[in-house]
């Protein structure tokens, strides 16, 4: 049995099933309770599971993440929500100093089966600080896993995999596509394995690696490019990254582009490019193109379309890689 769901509904479904199958799972954060989350990602959970498992917290990100660390160390499986990924930073110390490394520091005595969810990215005409894409921060921090689904099916499956995972996962949800399209999503819980990329479009000429909300415009750009046979790979998991799939695709095409909305310098596009040339330089026929956000603070709504890679700019980048 399945239902036709948007991505945010699939997130909600994943939370629901995760809570239903394991009493230790709980959801906490600002406005996640009666309000059902500012994006409705926790809608109805409060009514079903009660205020002991769907907890409205005070407005304090370090308190949320830090107390979730304590809860997880004490045997619960908290799924804290940070309302927007741009508001993770007041709690960033708890993420990088504790969440990522309690297992290491205690040599395995204390572990953190927790999932830190946050809507991320631009594209919804949101106010300042609401549109950031800083997945590179989390992927650079050992001890964390980082996931970013781009479809409703993956959203539910990866969220369930994250909740069941014994390690802490930063689960970033591209809010631009929260409601962009629907997909059949099984009613029962299922897992989409963390660490596995998905080939969205097969092709022979250029490999394009992307994730999150950039997957859609990348597939669109690929479709528009009649003369180039593009392979689109959606990484989905940003730590660990599925380099096997990346390298395999690249060895086939010898040409690649990477699309992400995060700023160019120091974004994960650099990591992927570096690894490609480490593992497959002899296959490389052209520079790997990076089609990314610019090295500027994410602009307010009036200019955000110009900041975000969209099909025309992506196609131009793919053509560069192809025509080199």
């Amino acid at each position: 049995m399945s239902e036709n769901l948007t991505l945010v509904q699939a997130v909600r479904d994943g939370l629901h099933d995760g809570m239903a199958e394991d009493d230790d799972v709980l959801v906490m954060g600002e406005d996640v309770g009666q309000n059902g989350g500012v994006f409705r990602a926790t809608e109805g959970l409060y009514e079903e599971f009660g205020d002991d498992r769907v907890i409205d917290t005070p407005l304090a990100e370090s308190g949320i993440i830090g107390s979730a660390v304590g809860m997880a160390a004490y045997g619960l499986k908290p799924v804290p929500e940070i309302q927007f990924s741009g508001f993770m930073y007041p709690g960033f110390d708890q993420v990088v100093s504790h969440m990522s490394r309690l297992r290491t520091r205690s040599r395995g005595r204390f572990t953190l089966p927790m999932v830190l969810r946050a809507p991320m990215g631009g594209g919804i005409r949101a106010p300042e600080h609401h549109s950031e894409s800083k997945e590179a921060f989390y992927a650079h921090e050992a001890g964390l896993k980082v996931a970013m689904p781009s479809t409703p099916y993956d959203a539910k499956g990866m969220l369930i995999a994250s909740i069941r995972d014994p390690d802490p996962v930063v689960f970033l949800e591209p809010k631009k596509i929260y409601r962009a399209f629907r997909e059949d999503v099984p009613d029962d819980p299922y897992e989409v394995e963390l660490g596995d990329a998905a080939v969205r479009t097969e092709g022979e000429d250029v490999s394009v690696f992307t994730w999150g909300a950039m997957t859609q415009p990348t597939v669109e750009a690929a479709e528009n490019l009649d003369r180039i046979d593009v392979e689109v790979v959606d990484l989905r998991s940003l730590s660990p990254i599925d380099f096997d799939t990346i390298i395999e695709s690249f060895k086939k095409t010898g040409r690649a582009a990477i699309v992400h909305e995060a700023p160019n310098t120091g974004g994960l596009g650099a990591e992927i490019t570096a690894t490609i040339q480490e593992e497959a330089l002899l296959y490389q026929e052209a520079p790997v193109e990076r089609i990314t956000g610019f090295d500027v603070p994410f602009p307010l709504a009036a200019l955000e379309d110009y900041y975000l890679p969209e099909p025309a700019r992506i196609a131009a980048g793919i053509e560069e890689a192809f025509d080199f």
Partner: protein, 371 residues
């Protein structure tokens, strides 16, 4: 003079009752009739602006907008208590206070239209940029006050605004603690509107008042009826005085908790009916600061129907002009997003700008815009 401030944190200061009558023993603040009418005018203007902004958002003419209706008393009166050289350090909901301080309504609109130029405070106005990350402006306000002191200024106060939810953030704590330690000329003005989006004040903290949190920093905390503009004015005024010229045994900073209510949604993206009862809203509407002040002014012969009418006409024009000016402002130049990142554009950014312009040239802006 500072009896308004030296009081128990739950001894809420009041001047006007809900019907606009002076409460027993209360004194009208030392304001001229013109100033009192000006206060009224600003409150009406902020309210009208708010109504129009919400409706512009519904029509898709501006983006998400945080309404302030219900909170005009606290915002306008506190800002009016400031001297010209004083500063305000706002959150995102202080269009009212900013208006008093000289920010054109057009700028407020531009900002919520997603145009950064709306946040380019005119050079002569002592208003800090809008801060969206909750409570993050509080250490800035402390730092500004501290800097003013280090520069041997002695007559500048720094009024920082934030909400009830903000009191839970670490930055509230650190900012107020620094203010206590360095005895900075700050007034911390908490607009306790009872809600942080859907989280009620009671779930934000276990204390009876927010004012009592000042005990953790060694200075005074006081509650004021935030729906009573005259009470707010007096308390803000006294706190500002104390910030500039404290008595021997006084500390400069004050935490003011202005108890009030947000009549509307948290922002235009919010639906409060999910989390609060309409009856609660109605009960608070009985305390609406605008009719309250109006009654007082009319009954004390400071205002009459003709004046009200002319004020209303004025306001209508001012808001319409602001909307027109904002809507007539050409959209920002897309290339402007590369400006003001650094004083001088680094080479890599120059390259990105060049590439950006070449893409625009090649594909046209249309191709770069979402439909």
């Amino acid at each position: 003079m500072t009896e308004t401030i030296h009081r128990a944190p739950d001894d809420t200061y009041r001047v006007l009752d809900e019907n606009g009558e002076l409460v027993d023993g209360a004194e009208v603040p030392d304001l001229t009739d013109d100033e009192l009418v000006e206060m009224y005018r600003y409150m009406k203007l902020a309210r009208r602006f708010d109504e129009r902004a919400v409706s512009l958002q519904r029509q898709g003419r501006i983006g998400t907008y945080p309404p302030l209706s219900g909170q005009e008393g606290a915002q306008i009166a506190s800002a009016m208590a400031l001297a010209d050289d004083d500063w305000i350090v706002p959150s995102y909901r202080e269009h009212g206070a900013s208006l008093v301080r000289g920010l054109p309504l057009k700028d407020t609109l531009l900002y919520w239209m997603g145009d950064e130029r709306g946040n380019a405070i005119p050079a002569e106005e002592n208003i800090f940029t809008v801060a969206v990350p909750i409570a993050s402006q509080i250490p800035h306000a402390t730092g500004m006050g501290w800097a003013s002191q280090l520069k041997d200024e002695s007559d500048t106060a720094f009024m920082c605004y934030f909400g009830d939810g903000a009191t839970s953030e670490g930055d509230f704590h650190e900012g107020l603690n620094f203010a206590g330690v360095y005895d900075t000329p700050n007034v911390f003005f908490c607009n306790n509107n009872q809600w942080a989006i859907s989280v009620p004040r009671e779930q934000q903290t276990a204390t009876d008042t927010l004012a009592q949190k000042a005990a953790a920093y060694g200075f005074e905390g006081v509650q004021v009826d935030g729906m009573d503009p005259l009470a707010v004015y007096q308390v803000a005024h006294d706190a500002i005085e104390k910030a500039k010229d404290p008595d021997e045994d006084e500390m400069r900073p004050t935490l003011i908790e202005a108890v009030q209510y947000r009549f509307g949604a948290h922002t235009t993206a919010d639906d409060p009916s999910v989390y609060r009862e309409e009856s609660e809203v109605e009960a608070w509407k009985d305390k609406d600061p605008i009719p309250r002040l109006e009654t007082f002014l009319v009954e004390t012969d400071r205002l009459d129907d003709a004046a009200i009418e002319s004020i209303e006409a004025d306001i209508e024009d001012a808001v319409a002009d602001a909307i027109e000016a904002a809507e007539e402002t050409p959209r920002p130049d897309p290339a402007s997003m590369f400006e003001n990142v650094y004083a001088e554009m680094p080479q890599r950014l120059e390259q990105q700008l060049e590439y950006f312009q070449s893409i625009r040239d090649e594909y046209g802006d249309e191709a770069l815009l979402e439909d």
